[in-house]
């Protein structure tokens, strides 16, 4: 009988061995696949159950996790949601996350490598894991002012940069939304709210219009043409460019006109200063035709076109089209046709000219701070590239000051301060125009570079909402 008992034991041990094997298979070899399975809500619960770090503006939380009495333990709350929605994005149970909530999620949730030491200390001290805080470069008063300068119901964006560092001082867009609507813990309610937000005209709540919507730049693109002209060495302040009322193209029925009511008509030929001052289309179109598509494209790329980058939220690449016919090149060179830019891109152009031609990488994060606010990391200003030579930058600055003093951007004048600027109007036959201002001040010691775009407005309204708004922002910065 004992032999049979031993056999029974062997069978029992065999069953245990199978079980140990399958446990090892599941918990060790299969673990990663199972963890990533879309039905596995554990990661989500784990992530949402942690005290996520806050997004801070000037020491105040614009997004924070507060204790809640449900199974997630914490609820994400957005303060001044309308003002900061496009920067914070949302952190949602069913929709994922966006903008800074997405870009800085490892820092906020405390899983970033830079927080490793902090985690180890917490592990041994038995304190709950906590995410780190992210402090923004945003100036809250400037942000509020920029936000208020866009009228309710108007689609538009304002970006304010510090040229020497690339720090983003304000970045506001309308229409906006309340991310709290998407941050609840009831997925049914989130779905309803998301559907309602999707209905809202002009709003795409998962993108930041200032960095992710591409719009026609119109005449502000002429800054890039002028830069290309100077950099090519074939044009200088003395160069005279033919300035006909309209540019004809042989063989086709298209002509590119100058703005009818503008001052261009007063001169049959123009130097670059005058062409910029009065925003003469035909002059710039001819420069582009002379330099060629590649030269313009090249100059645009040196201002950051054609490149996606992270600030740390994603910025969509602005683009200058390629393989153009002559009429298309002429149109593209004055910011029409398929030329598309983000509001941030045009602020970068102004900032690069302001900063002696050096383009600093735009930055939205000032510092990473641990839960106890101890400084962990603070991003240093980073040179993206040399966009133009210092001489070209100086020359462009002089011309841009002239635009504000005598030309199309007089509304941006600030008493006692030399303001450099350029306006733009991208024309669409059907939906109204895009009104632009881009510039910087003070011209001799730039503190601020600004890009303003108001979409689908008539020309007088557009003028009212751009240059005068720039003036208000410059005053606000200089009076800080």
């Amino acid at each position: 009988m004992n032999q049979a008992i031993r056999s029974a034991w062997v069978v029992a041990i065999g069953m245990f061995a199978l079980v140990l094997g399958s446990l090892t298979f599941v918990q060790f070899f299969q673990a990663e696949d199972l963890t990533e399975n879309p039905w596995n809500s554990r990661q989500l619960y784990q992530e949402f159950g942690r005290q996520r770090g806050a997004l801070l503006v000037d020491g105040r939380a614009i997004a924070e996790s507060v204790p809640s009495n449900d199974q997630f333990n914490y609820q994400r709350v957005y303060n001044e949601p309308d003002l900061y929605a496009h920067l914070t994005g949302y952190y949602s149970l069913s929709l994922g996350s966006s903008q800074l909530e997405l870009a800085e999620t490892e820092i906020l949730s405390g899983t970033d490598n830079s927080l490793f030491y902090d985690r180890v200390v917490r592990l041994f001290s038995g304190v709950d894991a906590q995410g780190a805080n992210v402090e923004l470069t945003i100036d809250p008063e400037l942000q509020r002012l920029a936000f208020d300068l866009i009228p309710e119901g108007q689609r538009g964006s304002i970006v304010v940069l510090e040229p020497s560092t690339g720090n983003i001082l304000a970045m506001a867009s309308k229409p906006t939304y309340d991310p709290n609507l998407l941050a609840g813990h009831d997925t049914g309610v989130i779905a309803e709210n998301a559907a309602a937000l999707s209905e809202q005209p002009g709003l795409s709540f998962y993108t930041n219009p200032a960095t992710q919507s591409l719009v026609s730049p119109g005449s502000v693109f002429k800054l890039i043409d002028a830069a290309a002209a100077l950099e090519s060495g074939r044009y200088d302040a003395e160069s005279q460019i033919p300035n006909p009322p309209a540019l004809e193209f042989p063989g086709i029925e298209y002509s590119l006109p100058n703005f009818v009511a503008g001052g261009c008509a007063s001169r049959p030929t123009a130097d670059l200063e005058f062409a910029l001052e009065q925003s003469c289309n035909t002059a710039f179109a001819q420069i582009a035709l002379d330099l060629g598509e590649e030269a313009i494209q090249e100059q645009a790329a040196r201002f950051g076109f054609g490149e996606t980058f992270a600030i740390p939220t994603d910025v969509v690449a602005s683009s200058f089209p390629s393989d153009l016919s002559e009429p298309e090149l002429a149109q593209s060179a004055v910011g029409q046709f398929d030329t598309r830019v983000t509001p941030l891109q045009m602020a970068m152009v102004a900032a690069a000219i302001a900063n002696d031609g050096q383009l600093m990488k735009p930055q939205l994060v000032k510092s990473i701070r641990a839960a106890d606010l101890e400084l962990i990391e603070s991003p240093q200003p980073e040179l993206m590239q040399q966009s133009v030579s210092q001489e070209t930058a100086d020359q462009l600055t002089d011309w841009m000051v002239n635009v504000v003093d005598n030309g199309t951007a007089t509304g941006a004048q600030v008493p006692g301060v030399a303001v450099a600027g350029k306006t733009g109007t991208a024309e669409f036959s059907d939906v109204g125009d895009n009104a632009w201002f881009t510039g910087f001040a003070p011209a001799d010691d730039p503190q601020v570079a600004i890009s303003i775009v108001m979409e689908n407005v008539d020309i007088p309204t557009g003028q009212q909402l751009t240059s005068p708004s720039a003036k208000r922002l410059i005053e606000a910065v200089l009076n800080r």
Binding site: N2, A8, L18, F28, E32, R42
Partner: protein, 472 residues
């Protein structure tokens, strides 16, 4: 009869030392489960610690007096398993209470059941001087088993989740089938130890297979009928497998005939086939095992695979070292504190922790088998081996089901899962194995006394299991 010898030493002090270790594990786990959720030293902490501590020391003292040669490892292992189970049930209570303030906690009741189960084991140790007395109740056990198995089918019975295996006993529910497991083991041990010579020697030999006579197949047929009956009338696949496994191993041990095992496996094959054809719930379980990750299977109700898949997610989340007690989300798995408690433990204690638990079972089963090898009477051998093997089989069915090695069947993890009847039955099994191990390890006073012992107790049967046996 026994060719296994142990140096006759009491080892009760070893047991005491191991017991303190087991209590440290159990109480420590409970402390960790409470930490960070509420004040860890709450009422429950003390009730768990005191119940386990007092009751296990009580049993230890009984063993010192009544069965001082009993195996010293069994009691500490069982206390550790029971204690860790209590800690996990408590930890799951805390999660549930957080979501639903009206949630009635399971753990305090389980502590009460632990006290009842350990108390019953203690009483059995005191009352039952020697396991061989049970042999007198061979046929009574059969009748008791039948009654216990039929109880859920009477008006007293309750149907929960499609299985009719519970009865209502005033303050709660009880699974008589758990106790029937013991009484059936007693019946089979008694029947087979008495009749094994007849079964062995009669019958035709066809090729290498020695076929038993038809009428000797009767117990086998009874076992098959019980298993299939449980499956059909109570719709409880797990218990049915367990009963059948119990009979199979006991018949094999009694006869040493592989032919019997083959016949048994063939019969269970027929049973499974019939069940698959006839009962949708069995077929659904099978399907949700094979196609667990198919979307239409996942959400199906009833018979969906969500439970097993969520259990796998839990195990995966635990990984190698686990999330730590209280830091995972085992509450996302349905029946985390009973059928799926291994998934909960795997998540929070990791592969390392759950392997440690499985190793405790391995040692426990091995010590039970060791008792079977060591004891000198056939009845004791069969009983100890059958009961120990049942524990192993139950672990296999449960953990194999959770890890998707085999289809998931609703069975408790011995000593750990929430549920009073299972705990009580398993503690009674422990008491029986302890008693058998006592006879296995006790120094024989003299040869004649050993052989005359059964008659002295008035047990019918064949005391002198002959010289032929010892040569085997």
């Amino acid at each position: 009869m026994s060719d296994v010898l142990t140096v006759p030493r009491s080892r009760r002090t070893v047991e005491l030392f191991l017991l303190l270790l087991a209590l440290a594990v159990a109480v420590g786990a409970n402390y960790l489960a409470g930490i960070g959720r509420e004040e860890p030293l709450g009422d429950y902490f003390w009730s768990q610690a005191i119940t386990l501590g007092v009751m296990s020391l009580f049993i230890h003292l009984i063993l010192r007096v009544k069965a001082k040669y009993a195996d010293p490892v069994i009691l500490p292992i069982v206390v550790a398993l029971n204690g860790v189970g209590l800690a996990m049930i408590h930890r799951l209570d805390l999660s549930a209470a957080q979501v639903n303030p009206d949630f009635v906690q399971v753990a305090p009741q389980q502590v009460l059941w632990t006290a009842v189960a350990m108390g019953s084991a203690a009483i059995l140790l005191i009352v039952l001087r020697d396991h061989r007395i049970l042999r007198r109740f061979t046929y009574i056990s059969l009748i008791v088993s039948a009654i216990l198995l039929l109880l859920p089918l009477t008006p007293l019975g309750l149907e929960i989740n499609g299985a009719r295996i519970w009865i209502s006993v005033g303050f709660g529910t009880f699974q008589p089938g758990e106790i029937a497991k013991i009484t059936l083991a007693i019946f089979f041990a008694g029947y087979l130890s008495t009749n094994r010579d007849l079964i062995l020697l009669a019958g035709k030999k066809i090729g290498p297979l020695q076929l038993p006579r038809f009428r000797d197949l009767a117990p086998m047929a009874a076992a098959w009928l019980v298993s299939i009956g449980v499956l059909i009338f109570q719709r409880d696949l797990g218990s049915s497998i367990l009963f059948f496994g119990l009979f199979m191993v006991m018949i094999y041990v009694a006869t040493s005939r592989v032919s019997w095992v083959l016949i048994g496996l063939a019969m269970i094959g027929v049973g499974v086939f019939v069940a698959l054809e006839l009962f949708s719930h069995v077929a659904l379980r099978f399907d949700s095992w094979i196609n667990a990750f198919a979307p239409e299977v996942y959400d199906r109700a009833p018979g969906g695979s969500a439970q097993v898949v969520q259990g796998l997610f839990g195990l995966a989340n635990g990984g190698l070292i686990g999330t730590g007690l209280g830091a995972g989300r085992p509450d996302l798995v349905t029946y985390a504190n009973s059928d799926m408690i291994i998934a909960a433990l795997g998540e929070e204690l990791g592969l390392i922790g759950v392997v440690a638990i499985v190793m405790l079972y391995v040692v426990l089963v091995s010590r039970g088998i060791r008792a079977a090898l060591g004891t000198k009477d056939g009845f004791g051998k069969l009983l100890a081996c059958g009961l120990s093997f049942t524990i192993a089989l139950q672990c296999f069915v449960v953990i194999g089901g959770i890890t998707r090695l085999i289809p998931l069947t609703g069975l408790t993890t011995p000593f750990m899962s929430a549920g009073g009847s299972s705990l009580l039955a398993n503690w009674l099994i422990v008491a029986l194995i302890l008693l058998i191990s006592e006879t296995a390890r006790r120094p024989a006073p003299s040869a004649p006394m050993k052989d005359s012992f059964p008659e002295a107790l008035g047990v019918s049967g064949k005391p002198k299991k002959s010289a032929k046996e010892t040569t085997r």
